[in-house]
Assembly symmetry: C2
């Protein structure tokens, strides 16, 4: 990938390279939160992963597979035969190849000159997924004949349903047909969840052209034949719409009504050309960009690009239209993690939305409210009470959807059991923490009373049932879990898990008290559901006896009961490796379990999220102890380390983490994004900038703004929403200027332990 | 494709051409009747169709799709990266490319030199499906470094289940693992028919090599890394076995037992190298070749090659091991027609097996006996009695499996309804005819009594219920059908249908009489099932009133009630076209229905199968009338025309049809075999030679041998089994020599209306 200092809104690939197919498909993916699509080339390649997803259309292939986001029939593909030769960039010479994603307007373009035998042609491909019309996809192709002879073109384009999720087919081969002689329409239905999909495609040419429809199994194509004269050009537009019976924005979900919507979507823009449709979509993107823009003056221009990259993708993948779905770990940009939502949402992405798009954040936390039934189901299956949130979540009511089997064990060659769905239980306090953060940042009292408090109490109820009493020590332990460090399975008293569970329980006790006192109506409502008096008693009896791993004499909080007793090995080989699984070329998980190897921030994440529980010295000691034992094999690791090290004044090291974090997707390693971009890491990029360097933090429900810029940065400007107020911060290494509209409201915040009251502007020395 | 006069056992492709992928995959397909596989390249290509089938493992994707032969996870594929560059013949220079199928021993080879940038390498790929061990597949790869630098090789090979039938996935992603550290094993199960598949693969290298197992979804690979020094060579063997819970040759169908069989299959040949395993398989092929070899002295050497091509594929696709399955219209060489059996078996392929491998023929007719329940089911659904055989058949008990929707209509763009499963009813008399032919040729009295007679009577029972009484004419008609000419839908009194139905009914009446008289025990048994006395009455009341279309004044038997009244158009454009659907680029089926356009032999086929019902003059007149109106768009058409025109003395025209028939798969048209080779046409090749030019025929249950060679042929030698006797015929244009072992038995046959009695040898002038 190439990045240009003068083009800070652009991701560019120069030169065609088969090995970059997966990466460019993912990091240049298009989307509007409703639908998302990898940026596969129009023409087919070996190794491509051609995906289009509609958020929330989950289906499972069979009873042995968990539900996943199904890959829809492809609408972008086109095949060309020029004078009898199939067009592929694997053949011939490709000159001036540039594939670009314009982050500002969401347009993907691809331009090049192709020479093959006696052919010489110029290609200009453009496409976008509309932000203005969420059901709409538009592409534009311009072919120019630079040959000295006419070129006969055979073009085949339509909708191709001979795609799958790595071999799993989620759709019935539904009806298909041609509407009004020009709208290709396919009507696949998901096999089990029975979601009706309607895909409609239309082609437009600037010349009259002979056409022939062709149905194949799961596909409908139009075949076009035309001549491209010497030095002439042809313009082709392909427009498509997608509707589903799951869509909230339409009332009638009958097949015939959906079919009409699909056609109508294209009919109503018949008078608008590509440019106008693009502008319309760009205007919506512009509104996103105008909301709290971030400006970074850095010696590295990619820092500025990175935050735009992150925000672009966060908005391409976030379902701002519907609270029944969440953000998958790869967004809508790949099949990795099956479109499932993890703690990635609450801990890594939600903060961005809380502080900049509280409307979207509200949808994300509401999704967890809708997930209470699924969480109850999971708790019940596991013999617990309350709300035990699923490690992986799809449809909110489904509960746990983590697959049970994973990749092959290097030693035995057998599939490895994935334990996260059973015992990676911190997700429940993560969800509670996310809800609390949302309420703290937005001050959304209505959500708090109607939904948030219930989540906060019901999760505590789970923990109360989950705690295991240790008679010998007269305390409550949490045994046999996986913490954030997934390289330690079946461990006891993971610090992160125990501390966050204890917080969850303690907070619920206080919340129940507050409700009883201040909101008797809501208290009564919740009491009916959760039997609050009994619950309070139970929580109160346990809360002070929850075992919280204490620091060793050396000041180290043990990651779990046994971690510190395990073997330490030299990890430098793996820490320097780009290949995320290189450790597993040498060891199996069983062996890694027995060594002090940490996949990602675990104790350190705890110290970041609950910074008030640990003093600076403790954080320093633990940072110095754990970080060298961390392989950072999870994309969730670098941003946490970047922020914590910035807090600790290790700004150079922090900036190194920052760069590693932005390189997870934007870097040179060719295969890292094949399964999709790393959604949590995108949220992490925003957090590193605004939390890490901008110094914004919620501590004990109080706002703090305490910037500390990396050496290479001379200026940082950012903004955020805080309890309905629009705050802007501009900071260099000497002072920060905090501004809000002078609307009569006041905001209080902390800086270096001092409380400031912001009315319109404050200038504070650093 | 290239054919070499000196290599009459070889199908060869010279030079790599992406456009020939489908054709070479199909016409060079490997198989042993149990399993069959398209000859896709080891490395992947856009446009490849990578299929492996096990006969009889039918499954349906969902309730909207009919059952089909599922495409198994691929076991041949290998990917190579040489010094960082993916190996593909689309890149670089390919020299001396030769892909060959050796028909004699069933070995596929591929050799070439590949140069790409600084790489120069020699590749020798070999593989076969064993005829000696039906569960075994073996491949051998030899790589030679012709570069001046060492080449680092990354090789990935295993079992890849990310394949489907044009997007429909038939397997659950079953268990997978590594057995004893070296046997890759995958255990997919068909989703609905629940057939357990066990695929096991082992790699062998002539050097020690580093390896790493890798499981992906639906796949298991081994990754190998090694250096190929300058001028050095590496030999790789990949062996695989396939077992299923449907296999009759093993007793225990429990998963663990099947897994052991899969591994054991490879363990027990551990000491045998590729060459020895190939020889073992070649010896079984040799036995096939020694059975009634055909020798043709022709000016066109391809004539000799063609019959070897036909016999090779007939034996690669015929399930000689199991009567619960039949031969699909594309054998095991492609997804076309879903592995379903049609009348192609009885009318086109069965004659070859009747006359040369009666043991296989017996399995094919027994399949129809097992299909009686399915035929009853179909009759019942349609409101009829008796056995109405399915137009398309898969599992015998399933009955009709013809899909309901086909390709897009050129005018409306909507899918076309496929009516064959409902109204192409001549299949029922075709099955009866096939059974009668089998009995006549083999004299298998046991089959006749135990199975054959029941089929012959039960099919007549169907016809009796199917006939429609016409009060005005006091006759029985068969209305609203499709005849062999599928370009005429919903027609009344198709000649082929009515005549063959009448034969079926008349023959059953006689059979019931004979049984009552000669085989009272069997009569009684059948009477219980079929109520023979009532049935005889019913059949007898109708048989003479079945309407048999009579010749016009001009001597033309009307193909149906309305055919002769329809418009005649100039068909030369379509008759000369290679593209089988070119007619449908201009017209839709509705329009073709309204013209005198015939897809394939219809009246003429009737005149060939029931030659005694029509005199020579009638045949000539009808041939001259119908042939010019025939597009020969079905691969079943040319062979019928070749034989009939040979009978009529039109030997030049016949030989022209002969050549067109062999070119259906062996010819230059690149796309004709993409969906698989044309099984019926292969049977047709044998029929053209032995029936057409060798002059063999069963007429009214009597054998006739009456050769007439095409001008370009100077000698024809062939042989056949007849009622347990082994007959050889050698003929030139002057005389024929008919020979049988002098074993005391006598055989009678007709030649020019004279009956001869053969004891050991007869020489007859022509």
């Amino acid at each position: 990938m190439n990045y240009d200092q003068k083009k800070l809104w652009q991701i560019e690939q120069q030169g065609f390279d088969e090995q970059l197919l997966g990466k460019s498909e993912a990091i240049m993916a298009l989307g509007n939160g409703y639908l998302g699509s990898r940026s596969s080339e129009e023409e087919a390649y070996i190794g491509e992963i051609r995906d289009t997803f509609v958020a929330g259309t989950f289906n499972s292939f069979d009873e042995n597979e968990v539900t996943e986001l199904p890959n829809l029939p492809d609408m972008w593909g086109m095949s060309f035969i020029f004078n009898g030769r199939r067009f592929s960039l694997v053949n011939g010479q490709v000159r001036d190849y540039k594939k670009r994603l314009n982050l500002k307007n969401g347009e993907l373009t691809r331009e090049f000159i192709w020479e093959f035998e006696d052919l010489k042609m110029k290609f200009e491909f453009r496409r976008f997924v509309s932000q203005a019309r969420r059901h709409l996809l538009v592409s534009h192709v311009r072919l120019t004949n630079l040959t000295r002879i006419p070129i006969h073109v055979k073009m085949r384009s339509g909708i191709n349903g001979q795609v799958s999720n790595e071999g799993s087919q989620h759709f019935t081969d539904g009806e298909k047909g041609l509407v009004e002689g020009k709208f290709i329409q396919m009507m696949p239905v998901t096999t089990h969840s029975k979601i009706q999909i309607i895909q409609t495609v239309e082609h437009k040419f600037n010349i009259t052209i002979s056409e022939r429809p062709e149905t194949c199994r799961r596909s409908f194509f139009m075949n076009y034949d035309f001549d491209l004269d010497v030095e002439s050009t042809i313009n082709i537009e392909k427009r498509g719409s997608i509707y589903t019976s799951n869509d909230k924005d339409i009332e009638d979900h009958e097949l015939s009504a959906l079919r009409s919507e699909g056609v109508h979507e294209l009919q109503k823009i018949d008078h608008l050309d590509y440019e106008l449709l693009l502008q319309e979509s760009a205007r919506v993107w512009q509104k996103i960009w105008e909301k709290h823009p971030i400006e970074i003056k850095s010696e590295n221009f990619r820092d500025q690009l990175a935050i735009r990259f992150a925000k672009y993708h966060l908005h391409a993948m976030a379902p701002s239209h519907d609270e029944r779905m969440n953000i998958g770990a790869k967004g809508l940009s790949g099949e990795g993690y099956k479109g499932h939502a993890f703690w990635d949402t609450e801990i890594f992405m939600l903060p961005y939305f809380n502080f900049t798009h509280p409307d979207i954040a509200k949808k994300l936390v509401t999704y967890r409210y809708l997930g209470l039934d699924g969480a109850h189901k999971k708790a019940k299956i596991n013999g617990y009470e309350g709300a035990q949130y699923p490690w992986e979540a799809a449809n909110p009511a489904d509960g746990e959807v983590t697959p049970v089997w994973g990749a092959a064990d290097i030693i035995t060659g057998q599939s490895t059991k994935i334990w996260s769905g059973f015992i990676e239980q911190h997700i429940t306090s993560d969800v509670a923490f996310g809800v609390k953060q949302y309420i703290d940042v937005t001050g959304d009292h209505e959500f708090e009373l109607e939904k948030g408090d219930e989540i906060l109490i019901d999760t505590a109820k789970f923990w109360a049932s989950r705690l295991e009493y240790n008679h010998a020590l007269d305390n409550y332990e949490i045994r046999d879990v996986i913490g954030p460090d997934e390289y330690k399975e079946h461990i006891n008293n993971n610090a992160y898990t125990n501390y966050t569970a204890q917080w969850n329980v303690a907070f619920a006790i206080k919340l129940i008290e507050d409700l009883r006192r201040d909101e008797p109506d809501f208290y009564e409502k919740l009491d009916k559901k959760l039997n609050l008096s009994v619950l309070t008693e139970n929580l109160s009896a346990k809360v002070d006896k929850i075992f919280l791993p204490k620091a060793t004499d050396g000041g180290i909080i043990p990651q779990d009961d046994s971690y510190l007793t395990k073997k330490v090995i030299d990890l430098s080989k793996y820490r320097e490796s780009d290949g995320v699984d290189s450790l597993f070329h040498d060891f199996n998980l069983e062996q890694v379990n027995q060594m002090q190897i940490t996949k990602q921030a675990d104790v350190l994440l705890l110290m970041l999220l609950f910074e008030d529980l640990f003093d600076r010295d403790q954080k320093l000691k633990n940072f110095d102890y754990y970080e060298p034992k961390t392989t950072h094999d999870s994309s969730l690791s670098f941003s946490t380390h970047a922020i914590l090290s910035a807090d600790l004044g290790k700004l150079e090291q922090s900036y190194d983490f920052f760069n590693k974090a932005i390189n997870i997707d934007m870097g040179d390693y060719m295969k890292s994004s094949d399964a999709g971009i790393h959604a949590a890491s995108l949220g992490g990029i925003w957090q590193m900038i605004v939390f890490g360097y901008g110094g914004v933090r919620m501590v004990k429900s109080r706002l703090r703004i305490e910037p500390h810029l990396p050496k290479k940065w001379s200026l940082l400007k950012y903004g955020f929403d805080y309890r309905g107020e629009n705050i802007s911060v501009s900071t260099d290494r000497k002072r920060m200027i905090v501004t809000k509209p002078d609307n009569g409201h006041e905001i209080k915040f902390l800086n270096k332990d001092q409380e400031y009251t912001l009315k319109s502007q404050l200038i504070i020395s650093i």
